[in-house]
């Protein structure tokens, strides 16, 4: 086997500045497009839940289109397609002394449009899953539908949104590797260039795999903290780590979805021990 261990360790523990910048770009693009996707997704979800049939229809069509087209195709249309057709060309722009490449702007737009479609479905289903009694009680207290959404419905729906939104963000971080196709120098593109300069394809891509794994793992921990925070706000005891592991194990043995088992059995398992 031809595996350059020295190169591997060096790349892993002493990554070049270009490499670290690529990693940073991956993280920043993920965070920004997640944030913008949340904003647009919330708007789409509220449109979908509104009484106005036209708004509902626009939102539904948007989600249908965006979920039906691969993100790669959307990115190419936005960055290369629009420019080729002479409709719009993303130019480098300087905002607050930071120059943002045209390709990065296109990436943010594409990812945001794509994320928003999925996020709006997550928000919509979390809101619909709340018992009708919550909206009724809010109306009976004299809130308008808008106030009820603001104070009662959305704050509760957020709790059940966190796991699917977390998965969405996890997916997004990995999907940023697709941005290499439009020339965004995120970590995947940097890795490719190191690979073609050194011919150490196997080593450097394993290093990059490890970095992606590191990012998604850190996120998983952050997501657990967020869930625990919201559980505390709702007065739900968060199952301890050991009871959650047991629930996962039992779920595996019974071949059912772990999350459902953790939710239902987490607390009771804790009690029996």
């Amino acid at each position: 086997m031809n595996f350059d261990w020295a190169f591997f360790w060096d790349s892993l523990f002493h990554p070049s500045t270009a490499y670290l910048n690529g990693l940073l770009l991956t993280v920043v693009i993920s965070l920004v497009s997640m944030f913008l996707g949340l904003v647009l997704g919330l708007v789409l979800a509220l449109m979908r839940l509104s009484r106005n049939a036209i708004l509902r229809c626009i939102s539904a069509v948007y989600v249908w289109v965006m979920r039906g087209i691969p993100i790669l195709v959307i990115l190419v249309i936005i960055y290369l397609g629009l420019a080729a057709a002479g409709i719009y060309k993303f130019q480098d722009a300087t905002v607050l002394h930071v120059t943002i490449a045209g390709s990065i702007q296109a990436a943010l737009v594409g990812l945001t449009l794509n994320q928003a479609a999925y996020i709006s479905e997550i928000i919509r289903s979390s809101v619909s899953a709340l018992p009708d009694g919550q909206m009724e009680a809010s109306l009976a207290m004299g809130m308008t539908k808008t106030s009820a959404m603001r104070w009662i419905i959305l704050p509760q729906a957020v709790r059940s949104m966190i796991p699917p939104l977390g998965n969405q963000f996890n997916q997004l971080m990995k999907n940023t590797s697709l941005l290499s196709i439009i020339g965004v120098s995120e970590i995947f593109l940097i890795t490719q260039s190191i690979s073609s300069a050194t011919f150490r394809t196997f080593e450097i891509f394993i290093v990059t795999g490890i970095y992606y794994l590191l990012l998604t793992t850190i996120w998983t921990f952050a997501q657990n903290q967020l869930e625990a925070l919201f559980n505390r706000r709702l007065g739900i005891p968060t199952p301890s780590l050991s009871s959650r592991i047991q629930a996962q194990y039992i779920a595996l043995m019974r071949n059912i979805k772990p999350s459902a088992a953790a939710g239902k059995n987490g607390a009771s398992i804790e009690n029996t021990h």
């Binding site: 018992p131 009694g133 919550q134 009724e136 009680a137 109306l139 009976a140 207290m141 004299g142 809130m143 308008t144 106030s147 104070w151 009662i152 704050p155 509760q156 709790r159 706000r233 709702l234 007065g235 739900i236």
Partner: protein
Amino acid sequence: MRTHIEVPDSDTVVSAKDVSLSFQGNQILHEVSLDVHKGEVVVLLGPSGAGKTSFLRTINLLNSYDSGEIFVDGHLMGYKKTKSGAYTPDSGKHLAEQRRNIGFVFQHFNLFPHMTALENVWHTPVRILKVPKEQAVREAGELLALVGLSDRKDAHPNGLSGGQQQRVAIARALAMHPALMLFDEPTSALDPEMTKEVLTVMQKLAGKGDTTMMIVTHEIEFARKVADRIVVMADGRIIEQGPTEDVLDRPQETRTKEFLTKVL
């Protein structure tokens, strides 16, 4: 647009006139008329499916009705009075304001689970009525004391028993200083012990004499203690009504007699 509507006198808190309601072609309420006066406690009885819940929900327009008029505290529910004296439909902000004058206590409590008991009570006065928070929190504390829950004010609803949740729900409704309190089977989701604690609170409220209340319940002994008047419904109509003892001890209608023998 409606014109020529006679506004009930100021002593009449609820005035329902010929209220009809249907769901998907089934008529649920048939021209129901009922007046409730200031400070009066009215208990609604009747078999399952009689339309008691539907009637209460129609009063604060959680159901929209097909025809008739409902006045609460002198305001035609769901309508806004224009300068010319005519009424135009309004189901938005104006209806919300009208509902602030009506407290509704649900069978399944419907507390806001993301808030503590105390927050459930002060939330709407502060966020919607813009009452200064300090004042609203103090008042919320007093209301929780009234329902006997001072020691549980920082608990979240899912840390409270059903009876405790229902008492918080009563305090929450009272925090809006409503002219009218509606109770839809407030104890039928509770076991006997918890039922007692909720009924005790309601009795205390009724005893103060300044709260106008309409209560749907199957607790006949409780009704006997608190009600000024009993209204019996069946098949979407009021079939009998009168002073509590008259209806409970000397019912006139066969169906009232049948119903009372079943629940007693």
